[in-house]
Amino acid sequence: MSLLTVQDLSVDFTTADGPVKAVTGINFDIQPGECLGIVGESGSGKSQTFMAAMGLLPANGRASGSVRLNGSEILNLATPELNKIRGSDVGMIFQDPLTALTPHLRIGEQMREVLQVHKGVVGRQARRLCLDWLDRVQMPVAARRLEQFPHELSGGMRQRVMIAMSMLCNPRLLIADEPTTALDVTVQAEILDLMAELQKEQGTAIALITHDMGVVARMCDRIQVMRQGGFVENGTATEIFHSPKHAYTQALLKAMPRIDAADAPQLFETQARPILRVDDVKVHFQMKMSGGLFGHWVPLKAVDGVSFEVRQGETLGVVGESGCGKSTLARAVLQLIEPTGGGVSWLGQPIVGLKRAELNKYRKDLQIVFQDPLASLDPRMTISASIAEPLLTYRPDLTRRERKMTVADMMERVGLDRTLFNRYPHELSGGQNQRVGIARAMINRPKLIICDEAVSALDVSIQAQIIGLLRQLQAEFGLALIFISHDLSVVRAISNRIMVLYLGRVVELADGETICAHPQHPYTQSLISAVPVPDPDIERSRCRIKLPGELASPLDPRAALRFLPSRLAAGETNYLPKLIQFAPDHYVAEHDPLELILEG
């Protein structure tokens, strides 16, 4: 008998603009111990399906149909009865582990509350159970964590706490709603391994809701592809990945960037002189730490001596995990943040420390596209006014009409209909808004655009379109791009060369092919091995390089030597690893052999 049976489930929302059908009559079931993947893009109704099943819809939502858990109907049950099921028979993990934990309660208290409510277990026995589960989710120093508050833990640790909490009552079904989307790739890999292990050991069934085909390929036995509130295709992982039948599934798989893609850009062969030269740039922030009467200041080395060059027409990818200083580097190059040290020169002219007016001459050629398409546009301006803004500064000679035509042409060039001219950002989708951001950056025909996580907030298919657009524009105008992202497969899809950052320093710099196929530095190797590949056969047979410990804090001076434990052991805590040329155009930071680092 199946564990969860959903029949003809529909979810409707009443909104100010009329009723919205979020889910339209779907059927599926989950067998005990299996992992079912629900894949779809944002707005496909994948989360609402399970929210409705668990009675967690907002007040304006209404669910109809039938949801049976172990044969008994649970849809639209009264809250007290649902509360018995939630947390005991069914555990849930959400995307953002910080908002899912109560900020003012210690980890231990929150975990014990679950036990008290569902099992009546209190006191020493409850504490023992909590500790036991924290150990099982491989939480380092578990006993201390019980006394800590959620904000004291890193994202990965919080998600471990969430998993431990939802597993406390040995649920038979674990609903994981985008459990790793907010996490770094290496942490994601660890959390996914942990979930797979729990599934095997405890026989817990998992419903994995995600947009990431790579995650699904690693985890799921069966897959349901969802679109606009309905299922378009279902089947086993092998079926879906190797012989997708529905056009949407095929498009989704095709749009998914792959780290092992064959059509990715090669090394850009050019004799041209570099247009941008960044030399040993440093950005240090002063952080106030408590301690002593007045506290003391500790430098946070967000970017600590990064050098690179960009040639005309090429794309340099910059990859690194959160907190490695990628965005700070972008802003330091554009002089939006003044670098603490080092030089940036544009076409041979140094631009660090220039006055605002002098800098504006160079800003015409140096543009940036931001991560959040909505936040980077002024909500009170029409999109055409936003696109036209750089024209007002650099082309004051244009008449209103000429300006309007230039903007309209550029809109068309980036794939926006010109009838959208007078629209406001909140009326457009994320993908359209990102096109507006690109149009604004492109309007003065710059020579270099920095894309700071420009596609990270977008759905996979939109992501592919935007990357396609950037590549087209690059070919047409001979642009140079610096493409910054935490997602290695996206960076691979657009970059000629890739630079890997770790805590504000370059650890490896080479062409895309070399970085992805023959990485030299242990950090790059672990990063590459953690990136999910949308192919179940490859994904499940790959072996991962797990570096011991969590991602270190940039405030810790010893963190820079994580890959040189021999120097650390020798007491040279201030030693900075040097970048050494490993092969032509391939630079690797000094490091100890992988085996030595893995010993921890």
Partner: protein, 309 residues
């Protein structure tokens, strides 16, 4: 000649160009939400009626606000009640003056005090707050410490001192109210500016070479206008309250002019002699204005700031 060619260009633009869909701005959205709010809509109507009363009311008055009705003066409690026959629609006050005319005059004063006090707060507070928040650093610290110091002095004390030293007049009353009301406004605006300053679209404007002053008025100002409008609308009744309090103390506008606060004060004084209308009628107008203003302010907040409800 000039005008003609620009006109021609404009026409040409409209004829040859594509037809773009008109977008729906956040202001338009807010207006739609405000119109849907029934309580706020009713309050706008009530307030409009009160304003219309102050404008058209004098046309029907048979007495002006200074004239004393000598027939009634000795016997206000018995003959001075509201009546159509004597022409005193709202009755007379303790001195035999027509309360109808006096209420109209007082309502005008109170509404003006509210509007002018709030708009002074709006202008001074917004400009001060934006500069303080946007420039930041040491300037910000100094400007905000000044506000802190001024805030520490009780507002009533400042107003009373100003009125006593400079003498009582309409104009000075506005100055006195304005001088204390911009302080909290500047703090709110500074907070909003700080939040906006680090948004990506400001960075984008900077990358596009827009100057700091242009950023302030093109990007920061329109985005905090919503909050400012809400706060200013809630400040109007506060100003009216403050003025009434001062008038109640006997320091407000001077005779023969009056305000709702002083009328209420006089009415309260004669309450015991059976002339209850002298308190009830000004009080009714006063309460009506305050309540409608609060409801309108609330409606504006819901409309302009749907997230923070």
């Amino acid at each position: 000649m000039f005008a003609k060619s620009s006109k021609a260009a404009q026409i040409a633009e409209e004829v040859t160009d594509f037809t773009a869909v008109q977008g729906r701005s956040l202001w338009q959205d807010a207006r739609a939400r405000f119109v849907q709010n029934r309580a706020a809509r009713a309050c706008v109507l009530v307030l409009a009626l009160i304003v219309a009363f102050t404008i058209f009311g004098p046309l029907f008055a048979q007495w002006n606000n200074e004239e004393i009705d000598w027939d009634i003066i000795g016997n206000v409690a018995a003959q001075g009640m509201p009546s159509l026959a004597t022409g005193h629609y709202f009755g007379v006050d303790d001195l035999g003056r027509d309360l109808y005319s006096r209420v109209i005059q007082a309502t005008t004063t109170s509404l003006l005090v509210g509007l002018i006090g709030a708009s002074m707060a709006l202008f001074v507070g917004t400009i001060y707050g934006i500069i303080s928040g946007f420039v930041g650093g040491r300037t910000d610290s100094i400007m905000m410490r000044i506000v802190d110091i001024l805030m520490a002095i009780p507002a009533t004390l400042v107003i009373i001192l100003l009125l006593v030293v400079a003498g009582r007049s309409f104009f000075k009353l506005f100055i006195a109210l304005g001088a204390v009301s911009w302080l909290s406004m500047s703090r709110i605006v500074r907070g909003q500016t700080l939040a906006l300053k680090h948004r990506e679209f400001i960075e984008a404007a900077r990358a596009a070479g827009v100057s700091e002053i242009t950023i302030m008025h093109r990007h920061i100002l329109p985005n905090l206008l919503g909050v400012v409008v809400v706060y200013a609308s809630l400040m109007v009744p506060e100003m009216i309250l403050a003025e009434s309090f001062i008038s109640f103390l006997g320091l407000g506008v001077s005779e023969p002019y009056t305000s709702l606060g002083s009328l209420i004060s006089e009415g309260a004084g004669t309450m015991a002699y059976g002339t209850l209308w002298q308190l009830a009628i000004p009080l009714f107008f006063y309460v009506a204005i305050i309540i409608t203003m609060f409801f309108i302010g609330d409606g504006l907040r819901d409309a302009l700031d749907p997230k923070d409800r």
